[in-house]
Symmetry: C2
Subunit: 417 residues, 2 copies
């Protein structure tokens, strides 16, 4: 079984909203061995949606659409599905009852009447009820083709996919397995890495493919294996990874794991280390990245965002003299921040960032894109700087935060072998 | 001129990476009046890319691709372009020189040899040099069709698009203008809103279209006007917005502006208010959202993330007794946090959040998805709660942060009329 995803909505095409649904659905499908061959984002027009369905079914036997199911005029998905499948739309009693109960639960019974069209579904569809919104999910199966239409709101999409669509597909169709493994390499330019592992890559068995995914100066090597037995695939991947060790072992910071914050979690738990942050130019992004991991409260004690430089003095004991002499964006201030942070939160590790994310220079006339960060593990200290003048402020905060955690992982690996 | 975007890369299809490039490019194109009709995400295979180019040119005269230009084996875009346009690939001296200088600047001259293929470009292409990476941007124009291929790394894509492609296209092609205006409505269910403005919507002139974009319980009404004169379009939009005022005025928190953090910025600057945050369950996301705005240092003083409950006591003076009696996830603790935060940072406004983002319950056995937040503006206090048991932790933090800022905007509007 192969899939095509179709995202319906002018808000994506106009650049108003980033499509995160496709990413989530692709991950979920992959976990049950269904590859996504193509993702289409199209306008909310009946003819366009019908054409996209036809286009998708040329190469895939499963299409999942998101968006275009709300109660307002700019939603035309259901009509397009009905026309494409030669089906008709009718009010479904079970769906109407579900909708009614949802309205009662939300104390919005007075809105039932104007939402009643949400209970109108394709007559041949299997309906998965939506616990978190008014538009149900519908699945229609015809001539070996399966089409699923989902609403567009991400927190409605996720539970529908995870708890309803995936179990349904898994039980009914999943044939082959796909297993992926990601190896994280740092301080190794992509071109040189490619050259170093060229022969190994050429010798990979045909059911294993390799991709390079750069994230800052980390390169994620993703090995993907396809086959009928998950256990066999795991052994096969383990074997290939073993062959890589002598080639690039000294540059690898993790032999498994996608996100740097998850890789860090394992290391912190294993070595029983606690962590705090004092972040200025990253503005909360570093803490957000750390706390995006479930279970992070076991090692993350807290953070401080001393955005105004007076707060660096008041809350973190950074000396006024240092700021006057070196300016607030300096290695010295980053180091003093990390000391203050470690003392304030009483943690084994503290991280600090100070920089100018732009677009304007700061009050000390420091150049946009300059950043200093300190990693303090007990008494060991490492302060680094980056210069990223070309990045917009959100990319800047994300890049710096990724890099700080990546360097922290490297440093923990060195200290706690 | 109409555009199709093609994202090339298995990392998007496999769900490993969220495609943010398309969003940025769509926004940029829109600003010069070029609508994006379709976004395709396809695998990094020569035949697939060629087919996508053909498909795109069926409906558009501009195609912009991202991804698939790196120095490693999984990049096949250039080859596909050459075959599609019947062109050949050759080393370009100017591009090679640019590459060499980049390598010298980065102290990586030893890598020039293995990166030299990055200077191989289409013989008919116009090359835009990439200041932030090794793969250049190429533009090929043939029979009225324009194709641009960009690298995949977002911080390389953004300056290339913004500083090179857009000015080029603007000068050469932009014909009609597109102007959008977003009106933010709160506490108004979508279905009821649609009913309330139905006649107004039906009466809209044919060159103006309306979309509903729900974000939490805020609905963004986007009006998009297309025409030949930007000034006329603005007047036309203003007129339509005026007609809306008597219909929904009391539910509107902003008559212009997309992001809640930008709407907030205007209000804070106008009323000369400073802001600090004490966030627990949002883990840095609230501060990140506030500081994502350029110029936020003018009103955002700082934040604290007391993730461990002891830090709420130590840093924010939350009373132990309150925590014991009400647990850490309670309206009382949220209020005390906001008091401590306001005192610590000496700001007009403080915001606090405390909740259980899951997936597990906290040490006090509070239910996953429960959250309390306090908004304190000088002496005015408002504490609200939400129950979001169905959300994953990142969606949870994002949803709560959006909502807190939205309620803050509503409260400022009430107090500072």
């Amino acid at each position: 079984m192969k899939a095509v995803l179709i995202t319906i909505g002018d808000e994506i095409l106009s650049g108003n909203t980033v499509d995160t649904n496709s990413n989530f659905i692709a991950q979920q499908l992959k976990s049950i061995g269904i590859p996504v061959l193509k993702i289409l984002t199209v306008a909310d027009e009946v003819q366009t949606i019908k054409k996209s369905l036809a286009e998708g079914f040329e190469i895939a036997d499963l299409i999942i659409t998101t968006g275009g199911l709300g109660p307002t005029k700019d939603d035309r998905t259901k009509k397009a599905f009905a026309e494409y499948f030669g089906d008709e739309l009718k009010t479904d009693d079970a769906t109407f009852l579900h909708l009614k109960n949802l309205m009662i639960k939300r104390k919005r019974e007075h809105l039932l009447e104007i939402n009643k069209d949400q209970a109108v579904v394709l007559s041949k569809a299997h309906v998965f009820q939506n616990e978190n919104g008014t538009a149900p999910c519908q699945m229609i199966q015809q001539n070996g083709k399966t089409a699923v239409c989902l609403p567009g709101v991400p927190y409605e999409v996720k539970p529908l996919v995870k708890d309803k669509i995936i179990p349904f597909l898994q039980q009914k169709y999943a044939l082959s397995h796909i297993i992926a493994r990601i190896i994280s390499v740092v301080d190794f330019p992509e071109s040189l890495l490619a050259l170093t592992i060229e022969q190994w890559e050429l010798d990979l068995p045909p059911n294993i493919s390799l991709s390079y995914l750069p994230v800052g100066n980390r390169i994620k090597l993703r090995l993907t294996a396809v086959g009928s037995d998950a256990g066999d695939l795991k052994i096969q991947l383990d074997n290939e990874v073993e062959k890589l060790r002598p080639l690039i072992g000294d540059k690898v910071i993790a032999w498994d794991g996608n996100d740097i914050q998850e890789i860090l979690k394992e290391l912190l738990l294993k070595n029983k280390l606690t962590l705090s942050v004092a972040e200025s130019c990253t503005g909360g992004e570093l803490a957000r990245l750390i706390t995006s991991v479930s279970g992070s409260s076991a090692y993350f004690t807290g953070g401080i965002i001393p955005y105004d430089f007076n707060q660096k003095i008041a809350l973190l004991n950074v000396s006024e003299k240092t700021i006057r002499q070196k300016t607030v964006v300096s290695a010295e201030v980053a180091e003093e921040m990390s000391v203050g942070c470690q003392q304030l939160f009483k943690t084994d590790i503290s991280l600090s960032t100070t920089g100018v994310s732009g677009p304007r220079t700061d009050e000390f006339n420091n150049t946009v894109g300059t950043v200093f960060y300190t990693i303090r593990i007990k008494d060991s200290v490492q302060t680094n700087s980056l210069f990223l003048p070309h990045m917009e402020r959100n990319d800047f905060a994300a890049f710096v935060s990724q890099r700080v955690l990546q360097d922290l992982v490297s440093m923990i690996l060195k200290i706690f072998k």
